[in-house]
Symmetry: C2
Subunit: 264 residues, 2 copies
DNA sequence: GTAATAGTGTCTGTGAGACATTATGGC
DNA sequence: GCCATAATGTCTCACAGACACTATTAC
């Protein structure tokens, strides 16, 4: 910090202000964008075109620009890494990762990453952007370090980030209505139940699920239309606008196949 | 990014790597450290000695150093800003704040702040560190922009950060056992209940509270000692080691005096 | 027809909330 | 004796979980 001069105004201070000469720092936005495809949870990954970790699969990421908030950077990461206006229905900050050395570039620039959690209805296959050799939605169950038996190795500490994102996602389904953001405008309760079942790795009783979801004020609102399914035709619903589910719908004691989270 | 040269190894890449010449960036750790004093929630604030926002009350904060994780920075912020080894019993990352312009220094260095939530038993009055004119625990109810009718104006966007911290704290009491981190090694259930009542701004039924807390496996463990109180002497307990409270203890529909949070 | 699913109904156990009761210590 | 609080007990209601049962559609 500069030496304080009594009586100096804030304007004078800022005009004279010289930031300390540290090794350069950079702030990164990384996005874990999930979607559901055939009742299975998929995650958007890119194959890195350049170093470090060239050729490995990684979360889309971008460096924060000087006049941009980190959330704007996260949205741009999706756009730039996939040459596709992937506009997630839900995007929230997850956590900031700053362990020294987690990015090999730390020897030249210290890279701090602000990870984000996002999800949306399946937009189909994305096109790779400038930094990516390829871009694709990959089953979460295939990721090494995330799911027991997964084989796809991930760059940086992205396996940790994805595990944290999955735990946050599973927890948010309990006490919020964000599950609807995985689905198109209109959906059946069986489709909504599929979100819960895929994320939690359990099966839920259809009857009890319907009773719970329709009983929470504003979670779902029925529309005057039905959809043919394998069995009886199903009532269609929209998201009713409520953000919170009270009381929460707690996930059953875990029997899922994914690596046990540190939580519960 | 550098232009990719096929066949280049990661070592060669890193040796030649030149970070882009952006305006300088800095990453900040800020800490909202709460404690309970006379059944009232207090927050550690410093009075800023230098610009910007000189003389205003602010959260203790420190710039991240090149070889330090952000959590280490947060702990150092407490040590440096208060000349006191304030070792919080609980410290966790809250959220990263990055809106351009939230710090006036953004015109020279872009400052991104990683806010933290911490709490501990009342350590008494702290001494101010080098950047602080004074340091003190201040009642949360006196803070403008946090509590309706509060008068203490806060620097930067710290009122927002503190509100977010309070909401996180209130939520964590519901489904974790962290409330014990506000208390010394041994405590009575009335003291533990006091944490919940102060944070939630409600009163709780003592009988039901005891039944719930002692019923959660590993929340509290009784020690063979009692403490004299105003009435009958009370059994002493320790934290039993459990991290999670399942099922959660939901806070009653809010009647608290604090400004309505955006949540629930 | 059969199989599969939507949607409703019923029973039961758990647990939260409200409240009463008793025990124990300070004054 | 009187008051405050600890600690336990009781009753009721809400709700989750288990498991019917029926209606409707695809094949």
């Amino acid at each position: 910090m500069t030496i304080e001069i009594d009586g100096e105004t804030e304007e004078e201070f800022l005009a004279a202000y010289e930031p300390r000469k540290y090794p350069p720092m950079a702030v990164n936005a990384e996005v874990a964008l999930f979607t559901l495809r055939d009742q299975e949870l998929f995650l958007l990954l890119i194959e890195r075109r350049g170093h470090p970790h060239r050729g490995r699969y990684a979360l889309p990421s971008w460096f924060m620009q000087p006049h941009e908030s980190i959330e704007a950077t996260a949205r741009r990461a999706l756009a730039e890494e996939t040459s596709l206006a992937l506009d997630p229905r839900h995007l929230e900050q997850l956590k900031t990762y700053s362990t020294p050395g987690r990015d090999p570039r730390d020897c030249k620039v210290r890279v701090t990453s602000v990870a984000h959690l996002a999800f949306m209805p399946d937009p189909g296959e994305p096109e790779p952007g400038t930094h990516a050799r390829s871009a694709a939605f990959v089953p979460v169950d295939d990721l090494a370090g995330v799911t027991e038996g997964g084989t796809i190795e991930l760059a940086f500490d992205h396996a940790t980030i994805i595990s944290d994102a999955l735990e946050r996602l599973a927890a948010k389904l309990e006490y919020t209505t964000v599950a609807a953001a995985f689905l198109p405008e209109q959906f059946t309760l069986a489709e909504l139940r599929g979100i819960y079942e895929s994320v939690w790795g359990t099966s839920l009783d259809p009857g009890n699920f319907t009773r719970k979801v329709t009983g929470v004020d504003g979670f779902v609102a029925s529309v005057p239309a039905r959809r043919k399914t394998g069995g009886r035709s199903a009532q269609l619903f929209t998201h009713g606008g409520a953000q919170w589910m009270l009381p929460p719908m707690l996930r059953p004691a875990s029997t899922g196949s994914r690596r046990a989270a540190t939580k519960r």
